[in-house]
């Protein structure tokens, strides 16, 4: 077995062909991940007991001739905002340093039912707030492709784990681009499914009208298999959708001839020249595959950042109110009154980015500002969603860059929060509309830095998204 390049299909073949057992694979993945972690800090914690217990079950099923599941024996890394019963879950925050969840997220339950083996929890920006993974209370993650660069954020640890190959696939969460942007920066596949496609029960809430759980993988096929395993209605999350979950892999047949694709001109203005060239070459590849690409307009795009950073911070200020020193492990040790306890716990516990967002969110919701900010932002959000609805009357998918630039250097942007927010422009629009979107590797810059291509489709049409991404991947992208 060659762990760094292993796919779900190869794990299955290896297990069923008795080349290795699930326990052997889990043991080797844990050893490899621990050895690599000094360089990248991708993992905050390993879960050997849980991994080996899952692996043993898979081996028993195989020995008994039973179907071991779609993810049988597959080593999985899980972003540390997704709850794992009995395995410390910090959300990248000092506040939750010792928090041991009393239950599993639904995505975790489903992943393990399908035979997945959780080897550890991955580093991330505190409460998933950030675009570089530099906001973790446990130190930044380094991009395995170039160790002096960020892996992107906020699911930076999950993207790095997959890029290293220490995990075959990973779970991340995406509120404004937190799966797609790190996938682009680390050269892996990252998927944000339709809003509601995957239950958020057990996902620590950041901005509830925008939060998603999504897969990261080395290949489009693996991402599709993982998504199918975790998707579908969950009675524990009333926002999860009842739409049937198709077998996405059946659509990975290369039949993309005649697909109509839109290339929004608003997404091409602020790219670095290398990113722009790679996207242009990627579009040529799609044309060679027989897709019809037309330039189009999504006119409300330039207002997306403003709308998003009002809605997301408003919801965050409310969701993070629960960290008050009463229930969740951390309490400031020097407070005599209840109100001091709240204020000091939060003042000492939250890092700078969380404080900034709590402040902004509280401000825009405060008396006298609600209509001017929050309500206005929700109306603009409706216009952004309408842009996509109009687009999908004419095209089957929208293709676009993921980020204006490839992975930047650690520390390069930490002192300019607005600039960091502005770099989320191309991923935020899809999040606001709630449509499925993903990053698939497009090519590399002269320095070898990966650049992702984004594909966006209609609500619940992950099938077309995966079909197109798979054909693009098999064509070798723009490289």
């Amino acid at each position: 077995m060659h762990l760094p390049s292993l796919t779900i299909e190869q794990v299955r073949a290896g297990l069923l062909g008795r080349e290795f057992s699930a326990v052997e694979l889990a043991t080797e993945a844990l050893r490899f991940a621990e050895a690599e972690n000094d360089a990248t800090n991708a993992y905050l914690r390993f879960s050997p007991e849980r991994a080996l217990a899952s692996a043993r079950k898979v081996d028993e099923k195989i020995a008994g001739g039973a179907d071991p599941g779609a993810l049988a024996g597959v080593p999985v890394a899980v972003k540390d905002v997704i709850l794992t019963e009995g395995v410390t879950t910090t959300c990248g925050s000092k506040l939750l340093e010792h928090y041991v969840p009393p239950y599993d997220a639904t995505a975790i339950v489903r992943l393990e039912q399908a035979g997945g083996v959780i080897i550890g929890k991955t580093n991330c920006d505190e409460f998933a707030m950030g675009s570089s993974n530099e906001n973790s209370a446990y130190g930044p993650v380094r991009n395995p492709v170039a160790l002096d660069r960020v892996p992107g954020g906020s699911s930076g640890g999950s993207a790095a784990a997959v890029a290293q190959g220490t995990a075959v696939v990973a779970l991340g969460s995406d509120t404004g681009g937190s799966v797609r942007q790190p996938a682009s920066f680390c050269g892996v596949v990252g998927v944000t499914p339709t809003y509601g496609r995957v239950s958020r029960y057990g996902l620590t809430a950041f901005a509830s009208s925008l939060d998603h759980i999504g897969p990261l993988a080395k290949t489009v096929r693996d991402a599709a298999v993982l998504l199918r395993a975790i998707a579908g209605r969950d009675p524990a999350d009333s926002t999860s959708a009842g739409a049937p979950v198709p077998d996405y892999t059946a659509a990975l047949d290369g039949r993309v001839r005649g697909l109509k694709l839109g290339l929004p001109r608003e997404y091409l203005n602020d790219l670095t020249s290398e990113t722009g060239d790679l996207i242009a070459r990627g579009v040529e590849v799609l044309k060679k595959l027989g897709c019809e690409v037309r330039e189009m307009s999504l006119p409300s795009t330039e207002y997306a950042i403003a709308s998003y950073y009002i809605i997301a911070t408003a919801e965050a200020s409310s969701n993070l109110a629960r960290y008050d020193g009463v229930r969740y492990t951390f309490r400031s040790s020097h407070s005599d009154t209840l109100s001091d306890m709240y204020r000091n716990t939060r003042g000492e516990g939250f890092g700078p980015e969380c404080k900034r967002r709590i402040m902004l969110g509280t401000y825009v919701l405060s008396a006298g500002y609600y209509d001017a900010y929050y309500l206005k932002a929700q109306k603009v959000r409706a216009l952004i969603a309408r842009d996509f609805a109009h687009a999908f009357q004419q095209v089957d998918a929208v293709v676009a860059p993921v980020s204006p630039f490839p992975a930047f250097r650690l520390g390069e942007k930490v002192n300019d929060p607005l600039a960091m927010y502005l770099s989320d422009i191309y991923t935020i629009t899809g999040s606001l509309a709630g449509i499925p979107c993903m990053s698939v590797p497009c090519g590399k810059t002269a320095e070898g830095l990966p650049v992702g291509m984004q594909i966006l489709t209609r609500h619940f049409d992950e099938t077309t998204m995966f079909r197109l991404a798979d054909a693009f991947e098999k064509a070798g992208g723009a490289s």
Partner: protein
């Protein structure tokens, strides 16, 4: 200036967030910049547009309902396991009422 120091301190109070003087300065500056950018929204004509509070798609009206079945609760011990100061089956906090 979109936001004054007094407003920054007021918002921190609302958020139950104890900030140092340096943080008040820093976040005042950051919020100012961000609110400046957010002013862009005033350029957009949203008359007659319904606010979008959540992602909507076609679904039956009962789609968000689940079967009303009893399930075992988490239980007192598990719920208190992460409490910084549990006691007698409760979450303990500093005294709020003077006797």
């Amino acid at each position: 200036m979109k936001i004054t120091e007094k407003e920054v301190r007021y918002v921190a109070e609302l958020a139950n967030l104890n900030l140092t003087d340096a943080e008040v300065q820093k976040f005042g500056h950051d919020l100012d910049q961000i609110l400046e950018h957010i002013d862009k929204l005033n350029q957009v004509d949203t008359s007659g547009v319904e606010p979008m509070a959540q992602v909507l798609y076609d679904a039956e009206e009962t789609a968000t309902l689940r079967a009303d079945l009893p399930v075992p609760p988490l239980g007192n011990a598990a719920a208190l396991a992460n409490a910084p100061q549990p006691g007698a089956g409760y979450f303990k906090v500093p005294k709020v009422i003077e006797r």
